[in-house]
Subunit: 138 residues, 2 copies
């Protein structure tokens, strides 16, 4: 019984080692956007080296099974590839990252690129915001 994961890996020419399985599993169930160090910590106990974590993340991201994110804090962050692309809003008060499902954005950006003589291959957008409700923050 070839799992969907195994099939995806075969299709993309990525070997699915035990360590990669574990990393993917952790990312699958993660609610946040962990960096390499976070991941290495979360899978501690399996004796996986940092080098392996980095190499796995690179391979898997290149193969498209993961997406690498950069929220401007100097570390790359990762998440499992989702059906649909999305952007993020960073809560400046708590650091929490919210995924944005929207967007009527793409066509607008496409037009901007077109006007300059470019084909839009991709884009990256991050919103930075502060919660409106007074809330109970320190």
């Amino acid at each position: 019984m070839a799992s969907a994961l195994e099939q995806a890996c075969r299709e993309r020419g990525v070997r699915l080692s035990l360590q990669r399985r574990i990393i993917l599993e952790v990312l699958q169930t993660a609610e946040d956007h962990p960096c390499a160090a976070d991941l290495h910590q979360r899978i501690a106990g399996h004796g996986i080296s940092v080098a392996t974590v980095y190499r796995a993340l690179n391979s898997l991201a290149e193969a498209g099974l993961l997406v690498r994110r950069d929220f401007g804090d100097g570390k790359a962050r990762y998440e499992r590839t989702q059906a649909q692309r999305h952007d993020h809003l960073i809560d400046l008060r708590s650091g929490k990252i919210i995924e944005l499902s929207d967007c009527r954005l793409a066509p607008l950006l496409q037009a901007v690129a077109d006007r300059l003589g470019y084909r839009l291959v991709g884009y990256r957008m991050d919103l930075f915001g502060e919660p409106v409700s007074p809330g109970v923050y320190p």
Copy 2:
């Protein structure tokens, strides 16, 4: 005769040393978005140390005289603060960076943030594109 630059520095409580003058001058006339190493190289001959370059860039950016950019290649890039905020389109073929003056974007993003209960403090957007014209690239 207090130059506009000197005044801006005084207002923001930043000391305008010779080395900072030089760095600002280079950035002023730069057509691109140099990183710290680029700048250090361009001002070689003035015997300014890398540490000074980094410290100056940090101070000046914090004071708002410069803007720090991050195009995802692992190095911070800088440009003089301009009258109006703007985004960038990265030419994936040549690496060239084009400044976008547009945008009817802000209100749209503002609305997205609002809907989530956030006040939009800022945002970052980069477009990645390939030139449409066949051109004479290698």
